[in-house]
Symmetry: C2
Subunit: 357 residues, 2 copies
Amino acid sequence: MALKSFVEVSADSHFPLENLPFGVFRPKPAASTAAADPLPPRPGVAIGDFVLDLSAVASAGLFDGPILKNSQCFFQTSLNMFVEMGRPAWREARTTIQKLLSADEPTLRDNDSLRDEALLPMIEVQMLLPTVIGDYTDFFSCLHHHKNCLTIFGEMENGIPPNWENWFHLPMGYHGRASTVVISGTDIIRPRGQGHPRGNSPPYFGPTHKLDFELEMAAIVGPGNELGKPVDINQAADHIFGLVLMNDWSARDMIAWEYVPLGPFLGKSFSTTVSPWIVTLDALEPFACDAPEQDPESFGCFTELSRNGQKPLTLTNGSERKFLEDGDEVILTACCKGKGYNVGFGTCTGKVLPATP
Amino acid sequence: MALKSFVEVSADSHFPLENLPFGVFRPKPAASTAAADPLPPRPGVAIGDFVLDLSAVASAGLFDGPILKNSQCFFQTSLNMFVEMGRPAWREARTTIQKLLSADEPTLRDNDSLRDEALLPMIEVQMLLPTVIGDYTDFFSCLHHHKNCLTIFGEMENGIPPNWENWFHLPMGYHGRASTVVISGTDIIRPRGQGHPRGNSPPYFGPTHKLDFELEMAAIVGPGNELGKPVDINQAADHIFGLVLMNDWSARDMIAWEYVPLGPFLGKSFSTTVSPWIVTLDALEPFACDAPEQDPESFGCFTELSRNGQKPLTLTNGSERKFLEDGDEVILTACCKGKGYNVGFGTCTGKVLPATP
């Protein structure tokens, strides 16, 4: 049975009272004040088609639990301070917000002026990056994606024998570019770079020929550990605030030429898109299940779907794609299906623009 | 001929009036107030054995140029705001500070109370990371280091043919971990991780057997470019605030096992040390010269010096090293030699502590 909020939440909404994902938003300026400075970013929680302004809730003194009572964490322009406070603070906030938004709780429901101030229609706000990102690391979680990429790039382009023995022992990861992580909706300019045709031809420079997406989940990690002190795997969940969708845009021709020996770099670093609403582990916990068997294969990018451009994919509108073309928009979405409700991630979108001249 | 400051600067100092490197420091609390909160970090400039507190200079209204006059950039806890202002602001600050500290300028020289407030003995301050680091990328600049590493790891351990053709066409780089860049003097705890012995043995887990240093220069980059808009190479200097020394600590056994296909990761990400004083391009400009021919080889780490542990190195105290041992301290230093003065980088130090149990 779904929980009931006084805010209307449609049956197919990703954001019912069971979810309550955190983000950072800025009210769009009213048309009459378009020339004024934009309003400052502040933390919010999604409920149905509305955003609950946590700075307004905090200003009204409604975070009255022992951890958040006198905290400045919801008066910041990012969620970093709140994330660094750890799971007890996250749970206290969730409990307070869930009660405040429930159908039978009058505090916010019956206070017209506070409700108007604190609950903003989602279409009237601009979503921003929810945290300042101190570092970004990317992992292979799927053996078949790893095998596919190694086979496609390794065997087909570089004559290097596939070697995935270390995959079974290690987290196969690398650092991405923290400073080019962008929020859903940001346009993606086709990057220029080098590729290398087969055989003895010299490398070429120009807009990538093989712009690809990658469907990923990203974890927002905090609080951190002390330098040099490992995190016990049993405490891992205390360090993961929540998850977002991620599109790890990739220029495959650039990666194939650059990735030996230091790994992917310019073919990945031009942009990485994340969805704006961080879904907490507490919201996801009821949906925990065993990991799927890693067979048969699942495909999460054009490199796999089109076998590196060898087999074009027919889209539902009849057009064909080997890789992304200028003007294409990629929309990722995901949700957990509960009984009578969803706990969803909203969307993670980006449109491909032509390379700059 | 060296410039003359009213602050005494010894002939071998790295920090004469010609240098004026920027950093961020915190006055060490006096013994009597040890229990009090630490004083907030603020920007400073090194002069001889002293630090000029730029927040004190700004409070006194002595930054009177058109760009810095009403700026809050020296009241921040990092240099980010100042760095993002660009080269005109950097040059205006340098001109103002150089004049203020010169022997024939009475403003600061003859104002006892301001001088006592603004000029702090370097031994009475703690240096901090000068900027919040949004991203950190690492490049091969030396062909021979690249060849050496590929030969040592590629041929000797993985049976992969060395391939350095792309080095001649591309910046061979990767992203390091921005969140583990630490300031000079921070202890380095020997990391635990996986290595893989030769042959068919399984991988082992434990403290690295091959802890190494790497002598590098790091550029502090800012202001940034707009996403998707490349920086013209002729404008590159406008985006580089200055340089520091960097020790890119490396666990060679971990890297050898993990680096195919995504590049160095856990064997690099445990700590990277930078020196605290950012030497500006304007201070270095008089020493610009042609790059050295990349032959014969120069060695910048134990992997090269000891041929991956095959040939122990005899230190000046008679002891031998293949790689770093617990208790070893690595001290990097560098300076440009002018006529009667140096423009130096100070030191970049770190001591190796045993792995955590």
